[in-house]
């Protein structure tokens, strides 16, 4: 239960971090941000990185700001930064609501938004938010910078589009329009435990009908995804029980849920159906 030996490096700028990472990546070099997922896996020796590059001392990566219609979240912004709304309007409220479901209070003091994306656990709340809201991920290496759409960034269980020598420096969440409503629902067996399933719904009401619907499901499949055919079916419908029940059933049918020893695919499918219904109802209310 003790991490294996590794070499520790501190970086004081992004340039410094990516230069060090480029050097050590071939020897299983990894980035250390909050460490709340990486260090437990090291304690179990599931991860035995040869080098860790600590980015916590890089001032610019702690930046959290609204610019160009998006919320820019630096690599070292902790979950706890969202305990109170970081923007006026729906995005700040949504992020505060979701943050309360992530791990526990002390975990949220250290763990980071971008670290959750880089970890890409299917049960990650931030991965679901990033995919549902079409976040842009910024990756940097000594080879340059590139932008990756969240849906392309997350490739599966603990698997992302990041190359070994790339640092996820920032995530950008587009600001929803002011009339956007949201509903978020999650189920886990114990307080603070990993989600067995999650649903995030956002839409606007225009003339009494649903428009700009987004519906993301997380925790159920190997990665979060938007259920676009159900989003399309919600367009122009009245926000009533019939609409929402039909949408929840359609989501459950399209799903290919993961199974594990304690959770059958059918159980997850039914959970998703219930959570989708509640998320839609919550958004409408």
């Amino acid at each position: 239960m003790k991490p294996a030996a590794f070499h520790y490096h501190t970086a004081h700028s992004v340039q410094d971090a990516v230069a060090t990472l480029a050097d050590v990546a071939p020897d299983q070099g990894r980035i250390l941000a909050g460490g709340q997922s990486l260090v437990p896996t090291m304690a179990f020796r599931l991860a035995t990185p040869g080098h860790l590059v600590d980015i916590n001392g890089i001032e610019e990566l702690h930046r959290l700001a609204v610019e160009d219609g998006a919320l820019s979240i630096g690599a070292c912004v902790r979950h706890a930064a969202f305990h109170r709304p970081v923007t006026d309007g729906v995005l700040g409220a949504l992020l505060t609501h979701v943050a309360g479901h992530i791990g526990h209070y002390p975990i949220r003091q250290r763990g980071t938004f971008c670290g959750s994306l880089a970890q890409s656990d299917p049960a990650s709340e931030w991965c679901l938010v990033a995919v549902t809201l079409d976040a842009t991920i910024i990756a940097q290496s000594t080879r340059g910078r590139r932008e990756i759409a969240a849906a392309n960034f997350i490739e599966g269980v603990m698997s992302t589009a990041l190359d070994d020598d790339e640092l996820l420096v920032e995530a950008r969440l587009p600001l929803p329009t002011t009339e956007t409503r949201y509903g978020f629902q999650e189920f886990s067996r114990r307080a603070g435990d990993f989600a067995l399933a999650m649903a995030l719904a956002t839409f606007r009401l225009d003339g009494g009908v649903i428009t700009d619907a987004r519906l993301g499901i997380g925790g159920a499949e190997d990665r979060p995804r938007r259920i676009t055919q159900v989003e399309a079916a919600l367009e122009g419908k009245s926000p009533n029980a019939e609409t929402f029940e039909a949408a929840a059933s359609a989501v459950a049918e399209t799903l290919d849920p993961m199974e594990d020893a304690g959770t059958s695919a059918q159980y997850r499918r039914e959970l998703v159906q219930t959570l989708t219904l509640r998320a839609l109802q919550s958004a409408a209310s």
Binding site: M1, K2, P3, A4, A5, F6, H7, Y8, L32, G35, Q36, V39, P40, A43, F44, L52, D54, N56, A80, G100, H104, Y105, P106, I107, Q109, R110, A191, G192
Partner: protein, 160 residues
Amino acid sequence: MTDTHDITLSINDHDYTITVDARHTLADTIRDQCGQTGTHVGCEHGVCGACTVLLDGQPVRSCLIFAVQCGGKPIRTVEGLAKGDELHPLQKSFMKYHALQCGFCTPGFLMLAVGILENEPDISDSDLREALSSNLCRCTGYANIVKAVRAAAEELKAGS
């Protein structure tokens, strides 16, 4: 392969200048190299919260941070709560409300509660219950811990 670093840990306003392996967690270092054994090590992977300490004023799992990351940052452990023979209000409250039995989880709960109340003195009952769900206690069933922390919260506010 050993990667050692010379650091100074500031624990309860006392400096410990030590040499650590990069792989040493803050929890193990506080106990083994600084001799402060009030901080307990339970699960060693961030689940139980027995090792909770305050780092920069925030409650954190000291088993999920490497000591080498903590040089120069203020660390507070359970040993720093009492002032001489005078117990901290939370410690008194834990005694009054029988918020412990075996006591293994108690240092972690005390530091978690101190961190929460110092940062959020007006925390609601439901938020307090949620925050206290961070740590595991296998004896009390939690109800008396919630009562003790709530009572101490009122006392700390009245005294501030």
